[in-house]
């Protein structure tokens, strides 16, 4: 049976993937994390097409962590498609990126991002941030029920 995906992590840098997974490890979520390494793969996964056409559309992640600088399809474009489709719009998306440039923040919010976080350089802060946001979006926050899709 297909495992439930709690978190979809869209991140192209393998080191960032490793550090993020390490930070999420404490949350007992490591097994429920799907990693997509570029924008195209992320969209294929979410819309159950291309390389992920055998996925069932009912299995939706409860949280999407999205980096902005992605190969093939850019992070903002992925955000636009997620928020532009009724089948994925309600999934909370947290942009997790190095950039704090106003243009990126503005554009992300205009596209309907749920949260925008600049990855801290300091690893302790990074860990704390990941823990906090995982805790918030998956535990404190009420996820969208199935009927919302």
């Amino acid at each position: 049976m297909e495992r439930a995906v709690e978190i979809l992590l869209v991140e192209d840098d393998p080191k960032d993937v490793q550090l993020t997974l390490h930070a999420l490890r404490g949350e007992n979520l490591k097994n429920a994390i799907e990693v997509c390494r570029d924008g195209e793969d992320a969209l294929d996964f979410l819309f159950c097409r291309g390389a992920h056409s055998d996925r069932s559309p009912d299995r939706r992640p409860r949280l999407i962590l999205l980096d902005l600088k992605l190969p093939k399809v850019d992070g903002l474009e992925v955000l636009r498609e997620i928020k532009g489709s009724s089948s994925t719009r309600v999934i909370p998306v947290v942009v997790l990126t190095s950039s704090k440039e106003e243009v990126d923040v503005v554009e992300s919010y205009k596209l309907g991002v749920n949260s925008y976080i600049q990855k801290p350089v300091d690893f302790n802060q990074f860990r704390e941030t990941i823990k906090t946001l995982g805790l918030y979006w998956l535990v404190v926050n009420q996820p969208p029920p199935d009927s919302a899709f």
Partner: protein, 344 residues
């Protein structure tokens, strides 16, 4: 003629003939005289006519000369106006040439402006990718060095643990350097958007943002009323943030710290100052005060990247103003600035 005629004796017929002849001659002489007088009259009338004719001729000659003069004047007037016309045409040609030169200059200016815009955009793209591209490996280095410390932790000798701590320290510094450089670059790109602003409200905002830095500190604030000036409020708030943050930092050894904000007047307008009773600095190093990454204190005594004052100076200069400082080692420092006259 009462000439007594000779009375001849004798021949009455001959005398009669003679008298007749005499009479005829007299008549003829009279006629001749009359005729002479008539001719004289005719002559004098003719002479008068000739005189009149001459006068008329002279008058006509005068008119002719006058007409010729008028024609001459007219001709020279015409030549003058032809000259003026030629001169005007030349001026118009020159204006045209000037105009086309100006148009050419404007075109060149437009081209230079386009180049500048392109170059600015390149710079923006560059700084943007610096932010992203430099931060990522830093984050990785910090992450893995901390994970290493956690994995090996207790197995490491104190020296080795120290090395790892130093690595993380350097990473933190580099991260702050990047952030500071980026904000300096961002400010360098901005043109101040001027509006009449109350400096006192900017100081109040800055102070509330600096609350975390004031935690557990004993600071005596002396804030005088400040004027309204034409400035970019966002940029000027940054000025106060940096100057006040420095004042808070360098008064750390003082209890209480005394920090003053006020104004003095000069002919150019209001001069704002921020004064503290902190550690001050040696005035002989004052020329390095506003340099990028230049510091006058050791890192271990006071943290900082040396961009705060460079940023402040850049902002003040963008407002057409001036900033300078006076200080004495261990007595404190005062930073003065004035804003210039700028077109709104």
């Amino acid at each position: 003629m009462g000439t007594r005629l000779a009375h001849f004796e004798g021949d009455n017929e001959k005398i009669k003939e003679f008298e007749d002849a005499q009479r005829a001659t007299l008549n003829m002489l009279e006629d001749f005289d009359t005729e002479k007088r008539r001719l004289e009259e005719v002559q004098s009338a003719t002479l008068n006519l000739l005189e009149d004719f001459d006068a008329e001729r002279k008058r006509l000659e005068g008119v002719q000369r006058a007409t010729i003069n008028i024609l001459d004047d007219f001709n020279s007037e015409r030549m003058h106006s032809e000259e003026s016309q030629r001169a005007l045409l030349n001026i118009l040609e020159d204006i045209d040439v000037e105009k086309s030169k100006v148009a050419e200059f404007n075109q060149q200016l437009g081209a230079v402006n386009k180049e500048l815009e392109a170059s600015n955009k390149e710079l923006e793209a560059f700084t943007y990718s610096v932010a992203h591209d430099l931060r990522a490996p830093l984050r990785h280095a910090d992450g893995f060095s901390k994970m290493l410390a956690e994995e090996l932790g207790t197995q490491l000798k104190p020296d080795a643990q120290g090395y790892l701590a130093d690595i993380q320290d350097s990473i933190g510094t580099m991260g702050r350097l990047i952030d500071d450089l980026l904000s300096l670059a961002r400010i360098g790109r901005q043109e101040p958007k001027l509006q009449t602003t109350g400096l006192s409200s900017l100081v109040a905002e800055a102070l509330s943002e600096l609350k975390p830095e004031m935690a557990k500190r004993e600071i005596e604030w002396r804030i005088a009323p400040l004027p309204f000036v034409d400035c970019d409020p966002g940029l000027m708030k940054q000025v106060f943030l940096n100057l006040l943050s420095n004042a808070i930092k360098y008064t750390r050894p003082r209890q209480p710290a005394v920090i003053e904000v006020g104004q003095t007047t000069s002919e150019g307008g209001p001069v704002i100052f921020v004064r503290d009773n902190g550690v001050g600095f040696n005035m002989k190093h004052a020329d390095r005060l506003f340099g990028v990454f230049q510091r006058l204190h050791r890192k271990e005594d006071f943290e900082g990247t040396g961009v705060g004052l460079a940023t402040v100076q850049r902002i003040i200069h963008k407002h057409g103003g001036r900033i300078w400082a006076e200080a004495e080692l261990d007595k404190g420092a005062t930073f003065y600035f004035c804003l210039g006259e700028l077109e709104k």
